[in-house]
């Protein structure tokens, strides 16, 4: 079952880009990554899903309901963490969380305590006395306190130190195990790589691809680096699938995509000093998608 279905969503703001024809689905129980550089349209898509802004054309459903018409109903089960958190400054953390909880018709006080403990958040402080990172923690607790079925995170890790990031990811994985679906937008690939099952890559307002993380990595090249005693004849690796061959003194490097046995045979026939074969990280895959389009 799809928790989120986005169909040809388009939002134009006068001259500014917005998004055009964005379509993808998020299945129940998955952690779905939404990646792209700043300004690619991640926030615009998310803000449209939350009906903070309205689409120029296209539509989206959440839990099978229209995201505009049924917004109040849908939002009972959504937890949202914006990229920059802003709250009513003259409130205490405790009061803000209580206020937030008052919108959901259930008792959240126990969950608030638990979450505050995990995130190491002082509930008695005033919000305007908090650092950026601590405000973010308020945002996290605020987004999760009603145990939402769908968690939408827009670049959630900015401002959090690595330890807190770790705790936060563990918290998300726990929520996910309990059945929550997560839409995780980010421009930091390592965190997406670590958490997500599938990703949508967005560029200049358009979806470039939607893939499983594992397929993304399978379908791409491996990086070879070979050290030899003498510089290698550049034509030696003249087989299909080899790319960006570079010979620098005794080091030969290239990218390979295709049947791995072919290359390994070639390498076995030669005298080598050292050999490195690396999986590209997501960052490189990502760049690959971007360069291809450019």
């Amino acid at each position: 079952m799809n928790v989120i279905e986005i169909n040809n969503l388009t939002k134009t703001y006068g001259k500014a880009r917005g998004i055009s024809d964005v379509s993808f689905n998020v299945e129940e129980g998955e952690i779905f990554g939404f990646i792209g550089p700043n300004g690619a349209g991640k926030s615009t898509t998310i803000r449209t899903l939350l009906s903070l802004i309205y689409p120029t054309s296209g539509s989206a459903t959440i839990f099978g309901k229209d995201c505009i018409k049924d917004a109040p109903e849908i939002k009972k089960h959504i937890g949202y963490l914006p990229s920059e958190v802003f709250y009513y400054d003259n409130m205490k953390v405790k009061d803000l969380l209580k206020y937030s909880a008052s919108f959901y018709k259930k008792d959240c006080s126990q969950r608030i305590k638990e979450l505050a403990e995990i995130m190491d958040l002082d509930l008695n402080k005033k919000i305007d006395d908090l650092s950026l990172g601590n405000k973010k923690k308020v945002g996290i607790v605020q987004g999760l306190l009603h145990s939402p079925k769908l968690i939408i995170l827009d670049e959630p890790t900015s401002g959090l130190d690595p330890l807190m990031q770790q705790k936060f990811f563990e918290l998300l994985e726990e929520e996910n195990k309990k059945g929550a679906t997560i839409l995780f937008s980010s421009h930091i690939l390592t965190e997406v790589q670590r958490l997500c099952n599938r990703v949508a890559i967005i560029k200049e307002g358009k979806i470039v691809t939607v893939e499983k993380i594992s397929t993304l990595k399978e379908n791409t090249y491996k990086k070879f680096k070979i050290e030899t005693k003498a510089p290698l004849d550049p034509n030696y690796f003249n087989i299909t699938g080899v790319n960006k061959l570079e010979v620098k003194d005794n080091i030969t490097s290239f990218l390979y995509r295709g049947n791995i046995n072919l290359v390994m045979k070639k390498i076995a026939e030669m005298e080598i000093v050292n050999l490195w074969i690396e999986e590209p990280d997501l960052e490189e895959i990502f760049m690959h998608y971007y360069e291809k389009e450019a």
Partner: protein, 265 residues
């Protein structure tokens, strides 16, 4: 209900200060009357010698300033200005502040419709207007009672307060409608007070120039003037209807435009 209470709380300090302000305004105004009435006839004669335009600008052209109620009628204009400025700013900011303070990503992600949020906010603003009005009413009765010298003033005060209340609600919805329409809602409060001052100036200009009497429908400051309302004058039906139509119309504008707007971050 939670939004309503939250809004009341966040405007608590402001309404307390405004109430103190309006109280001091009545006190200082009526203290002047005290000095004035003891100086006797000479002051009235002096004022009557002033050019008509100057008297119109200061708003004391049509009152018997030797009577406490007359003096209060003149003072009322300033109370009215305070009340409408408060109302216009409140109406605009209560709608616009979520976007101004970037808390819109908190509130509008909650499971409540925009209509309900607007209703809660307008009700909270309305409550503040009632408090402002009551504070003015009570201050006026208490202070004026000390100077009235047996003159029955409470009835006059009551009708003036009713007039003021119409104006407050009207300017509140002018503010809220502007905040709902404008792309940059931050500037709604200043625009609303700008409109307020402009309509006020227009009302003064009309006082100075009888040829443009017809323009009185354009400025709410002409709808319930103290000089017409007091001493048994009461409200003119056409202006009551006009105000109600404007209030209802602008409320609808607030709802319709706000429901459709793209919220800024």
């Amino acid at each position: 209900m939670n939004i309503y209470l939250k809004e009341l709380k966040s405007h608590r300090k402001s309404i307390i200060f405004w109430s103190i302000g309006v109280f001091l305004m009545v006190v200082s105004g009526m203290t002047k009357y005290d000095a004035y009435s003891t100086s006797g006839q000479s002051m009235t004669e002096l004022l009557e010698d002033l050019p008509k335009s100057l008297r119109a600008v200061f708003g004391f052209s049509d009152f018997d300033l030797t009577k406490a109620s007359g003096f209060y009628g003149m003072l009322f204009l300033y109370l009215l200005l305070m009340a409408t400025i408060h109302a216009a700013m409140l109406g605009a900011t209560i709608i616009a502040k979520e976007e101004r303070d970037k808390t819109s990503e908190f509130l509008f992600v909650k499971p409540v419709s925009r209509n309900k949020i607007i209703t809660a906010k307008l009700l909270a603003a309305f409550t503040n207007l009632v408090i402002f009005n009551l504070a003015t009413f009570v201050s006026s009765i208490v202070i004026l009672g000390r100077y009235s010298d047996g003159e029955a003033v409470n009835g006059e005060i009551a009708i003036l307060m009713a007039a003021m209340f119409f104006m407050q609600v009207l300017f509140m919805v002018i503010g809220s409608a502007l905040a709902a329409i404008k792309k940059r809602p931050k500037s709604a409060a200043s625009l609303a007070t700008g409109i307020l001052l402009l309509t006020y100036i227009l009302s003064v200009v009309i006082d100075l120039n009888e040829d443009i009497e017809g323009l009185k429908y354009l400025t709410p400051f002409k709808y319930f003037e103290a000089k017409n309302v007091m001493y048994g004058g009461g409200f003119e039906a056409v202006f009551v209807i006009l105000s109600v139509v404007l209030i209802v119309g602008l409320s609808i504008v607030t709802y319709v435009f706000f429901r459709r707007r793209d919220l800024n971050t």
